[in-house]
Subunit: 368 residues, 2 copies
Amino acid sequence: MNVEVRPRPTLRSDAVSKPAIADCDIHPYPKDKALFRYLEPRWREHLETYGARARQGYLGGPAYPKGQPDAARRDAYPPDGGKPGSDLDFMRAQHLDPNNVALGILNPLRAGQGLQNLDLSAAICRAINDWQVAEWTSQEKRLKASVVVPYEDPVTSAAEIDRRAGDANFAQVLLLSRTAEPLGQRRYWPIYEAAERANLAVGIHAFGYGGYPVSGSGWPSFYLEEMVGHAQNTQALLTSMVIEGVFEKFPRLRVVLIESGFAWLAALMWRLDKVWSRLRDETPHLKRLPSEYIRSQVWVTTQPVEEPEPRRHLRDAIDWIGWDRLLFATDYPHWDFDDPARAFPLRMETAEREGLFLNNARTVYGQA
Amino acid sequence: MNVEVRPRPTLRSDAVSKPAIADCDIHPYPKDKALFRYLEPRWREHLETYGARARQGYLGGPAYPKGQPDAARRDAYPPDGGKPGSDLDFMRAQHLDPNNVALGILNPLRAGQGLQNLDLSAAICRAINDWQVAEWTSQEKRLKASVVVPYEDPVTSAAEIDRRAGDANFAQVLLLSRTAEPLGQRRYWPIYEAAERANLAVGIHAFGYGGYPVSGSGWPSFYLEEMVGHAQNTQALLTSMVIEGVFEKFPRLRVVLIESGFAWLAALMWRLDKVWSRLRDETPHLKRLPSEYIRSQVWVTTQPVEEPEPRRHLRDAIDWIGWDRLLFATDYPHWDFDDPARAFPLRMETAEREGLFLNNARTVYGQA
């Protein structure tokens, strides 16, 4: 695809002076029926006849507000039609070029990951992976794909990871946060084992659905509660991964928590360390403080950035977590996009800024 | 009961020089069968015949570690026998006197609150309330009782609160954190309405069980995860109370979150404010930022105190929440007791220290 002939946004001249960034959460969508080209006929027919059943009929968690169709920025619809995130040229013109994105991680959602029919789940995931390479990463070297896997079938997931291992189009394995059981549990370990073997980070993106309410308190009434609840749910899955011993068992595993906020992480580490220090004999498989596993093997993406008043509290919160743990992300093309020029109105040292906006991502995704 | 003749601990001479404190989480237990004296014969017979069924057979959440029987400090067994927390004289000698507790809030657990049989739940709660007055608060003016209520039957709960209204033996209404539905939901509003009418704070103590796993991720494997999970569960119930409009509807309601930690509160307020600012039209019943309701109507007890390294981070976390929001608590006689002399190894201003250890509690519990 020839970048010289596509339309340029007016921002282009400004953009060249902007520092290069990594965007660790970009959502590509297939153009109408595009995915069908990558699916075996058997599964195309299955989808036409039976559709896709998510766990308990609840597809991907509750929908984003209907007032933002496709969960999208209102300006993110490609001029030639199609869904936001479905047109590479438009993504370049609207986001990659003007924001000087040097590394963009593709996180396909609604990628068949949580479906009840595990073979259908695996077939759609494989098609999404083929589609990412054919229509995105092979066309645009700044973008890297995620291996989406049918995570409720970890053995099949591991086979899909093995299939993509060594393929430079892929930079991570993608899971969603709301699974049938807590993500630290042993049934999911084949995924972590395969990711470690392939030297791929494991990204865990908010959303999905495992059959339970977002909180242990039961079913909330409002979408607002679901949105805020992702942070609590992610605290629980990270707790599960630490306490079950995932990081002890897979010491080279790198986990990225995506779109669940980050300001809660310090308080969680404090609490984990305190409780574990008193009850550690329940988990003799753990050799280090919970926070030590997190500080060496877990990263968090920044979007949606918390916005305390006064803002210096945000600096403190990052100081506690560690500046090397944060990965900038925009969530493009979604409605709650964080603009890299405005998302961090903080004083930062040059090394802090470069780490947060680019170098931490290069490290965790092996793109140095 | 004559305090002059009971045994004095050797610490007594030190204690007189200690500053007075409030302890907002003391757990009294009935002596063997003591509760039966306060129960109607019908319910005594019922308990002998049928026992008490908690929701889905799961009594009060998973047990504390068996290595700490009765969830207790090993030194908390009264010399004359009985469970920890069952002997007022021993509680005076071991805790109230040496720690100079000027105000102690009794939070009875296993008080029948979450039982499936709502009439049995109400009968046990009423008996526990009578027992607290007869055997505790009428004997010891430093102690104040909690009105325990059968919270899954809010109308009956409100009647129990009305019955205790104006009785100076009681300082709060007590709920547990894991309920059948999130605590902000409208079914629970009669409780808040009655508490506001009675001018009693509502304490929400960790534990209980509502039928769901502690996290939205499903059932955890380890007790450690349950312990850490209380913090997430409490974040969810506070979110529910804010977003459903409990604080807007009941502007004089005072809520105390007990034994769920507190360092997470600032991050939750930031996230609530950010999400609500963008999606506020989902909840037109809310007139103020979520954090404003929390900062004016919610308090948190300190135990178990988070222990970050370096400790100054704890100071920062309290700065964010507000020193006027914190209430000291020990959890006596439980195993994870926080010693008032050691729990806060921080530099504090005199006003901060006096607020945290005593004056905030006097304000919220109306004991000034």
